[in-house]
């Protein structure tokens, strides 16, 4: 059994300092996009107690965040009026609205088409550049992990263990063009090699490569 420590403290339940987005956007269909993004502020302290009084300010903040991810003009639409990529952007906004120090992403771009996915990599990169939160991103996409992460851990399936730790020293800011350079593809190939080895050893039949971007 492993242990999870954040700031040296063992984790026993949900944390206030974390925000999370899932593989499915899971937006609430009866709320508009902006109201969906506001949801964490209605739950998490200290925003919760001041939500009614400072609602206007929070709405402003949610709209700004939505505009940053390219959802200007869609703030008052309902989730079912948005495309899958747009919903996922809104979902990431929801994970970030309460300014968490730690963003947990569980295959957030897995269900999107290749181009939308690359677009969202850049959006996540820009948000991170601005707010410098920690991200733990679980993904099957090696290019995604190398493009976004500072450190990539290759993980085996049952038992889920870290098999390889790989620091990515590519300079920032990273542009999409980088993903077509030799140094980039070399790292991807190297990681693929590790996963190939795990799979052929029949230790695991699927592997995930979590990536972390420490502050």
């Amino acid at each position: 059994m492993g242990k999870i420590r954040i700031d040296g403290e063992p984790v026993t339940g949900p944390l206030k300092i974390s925000g999370m987005a899932f593989q499915a956007p899971s937006l609430l269909p009866w709320r508009t996009t902006v109201d969906n993004v506001l949801l964490p502020l209605e739950i998490v302290e200290p925003y919760r107690s001041s939500f009614k009084a400072r609602r206007k300010e929070y709405v402003e903040r949610a709209r700004k965040l939505l505009q940053k991810v390219g959802l200007a003009g869609y703030e008052d639409k309902f989730p079912w009026q948005l495309s899958g990529g747009m919903q996922q952007r809104a979902s990431i906004c929801r994970a970030l609205i309460h300014e968490p120090k730690m963003l947990l992403l569980d295959e957030p771009f897995g269900a999107l088409d290749a181009f939308t996915r690359e677009e969202l990599w850049c959006i996540l990169r820009d948000l991170w550049t601005e707010q410098q939160f920690n991200v733990i991103l679980v993904t099957h996409d090696l290019r995604e992990s190398v493009f976004l992460a500072d450190t990539v851990y290759v993980m085996s399936k049952s038992p889920g263990r870290f098999v390889v730790k790989r620091e990515i020293e590519l300079p920032r800011p990273r542009e999409l063009e980088l993903t077509y350079t030799k140094e980039f593809t070399d790292i991807v190939l190297e990681l693929r090699g590790h996963i190939g080895a795990i799979r052929s050893n029949a230790i695991a039949d699927a592997a995930k490569a979590p990536a972390a971007i420490p502050q």
């Binding site: 339940g13 949900p14 944390l15 206030k16 974390s18 999370m20 899932f22 499915a24 899971s26 609430l28 269909p29 009866w30 949801l39 964490p40 209605e42 739950i43 998490v44 309902f78 079912w80 009026q81 929801r94 309460h98 947990l104």
Partner: protein, 256 residues
């Protein structure tokens, strides 16, 4: 396209007119006795002749039904909340509630008469007993079928059970609630009318019995029509409220 929509909109009225015309033709054509099966024209003349009496009885039936229905909403929603939000309560109460629902509500009327006497009491309670079940079941279903993914969204933020219920369970079950209101209101009218037939001196149910016993078939049919019209009116009202408040659940029909 536009024409089709127009036809669709007017189709219930067209069908109604067609049925009435056919009915009239059969009654006049075959010379059916007005004492056995009155023609629409006869029903209409009787309705007009006794319109004040009918209006009085109809009003009584209406408010009694609404009282029972209001009670059913309160009790149904509360019980639905309890059953839907707790697995234990669901397991414990659902079979009993189903058994209760299987009992013919008309059979309660004599018992209610013993307890509350002839009058408003039995009618209100019969309307309530017959109509709270669908409301309760629908609220419970709405809460019990919550997508775990939606709950997770709040859980990871450290939300309490109550938060999850209020932010997700409650709005999520609103479409179920309104759907149940449409069923329940028609049942409530059935309950009131049945009860009034044996345990009241006023109301459409009483009117039906007294018209029947004095062979005024036109009047009896007119009473039936009035109950049907009231139930349909209330149904349409809740239907409109439903469309207004839970549009998100009916997006398919709206086109965006």
């Amino acid at each position: 396209m536009k024409n089709n929509k127009q036809i669709e909109r007017w189709s219930p009225w067209l069908l109604l007119v067609a049925v009435i015309v056919l009915w009239q033709i059969i009654c006049s054509g075959f010379g059916v006795s007005e004492f056995i099966f009155p023609s629409p024209w006869r029903i209409w003349t009787q309705f007009w002749e006794f319109k004040e009496i009918i209006a009085g009885h109809a009003w009584r039936t209406f408010w009694v039904t609404m009282a029972g229905f209001g009670l059913a909403i309160v009790v149904g929603v509360l019980l639905g909340f309890v059953i839907g939000s707790s697995r234990l309560a669901y397991a414990a109460m659902y079979p009993l509630m189903t058994a209760f629902n299987a009992l013919p509500k008309a059979a309660f009327v004599p018992i209610l008469v013993v307890w509350f006497g002839i009058g408003v009491g039995p009618a209100v309670l019969t309307a309530f007993l017959i109509s709270f079940f669908p409301i309760m079941v629908n609220i419970a279903t709405g809460l019990a079928t919550l997508e775990p993914e939606l709950e997770d969204v709040l859980r990871v933020l450290g939300a309490k059970r109550w938060d999850v219920l209020m932010k997700i369970g409650f709005p999520r079950s609103m479409p179920y609630f309104f759907a149940s209101l449409k069923v329940a209101i028609t049942l409530a009218f059935v309950g009131t009318t049945v009860s009034e037939m044996t345990a009241a001196n006023e109301g459409i149910g009483y009117l039906l019995i007294s018209a029947g016993s004095s062979m005024q078939m036109g009047l009896a049919f007119a009473g039936l029509m009035v109950v049907g019209a009231m139930a349909m009116g209330m149904y349409e009202l809740f239907s409109a409220v439903e469309k207004h408040t839970t549009a998100w659940a009916h997006r398919g029909s709206q086109g965006e």
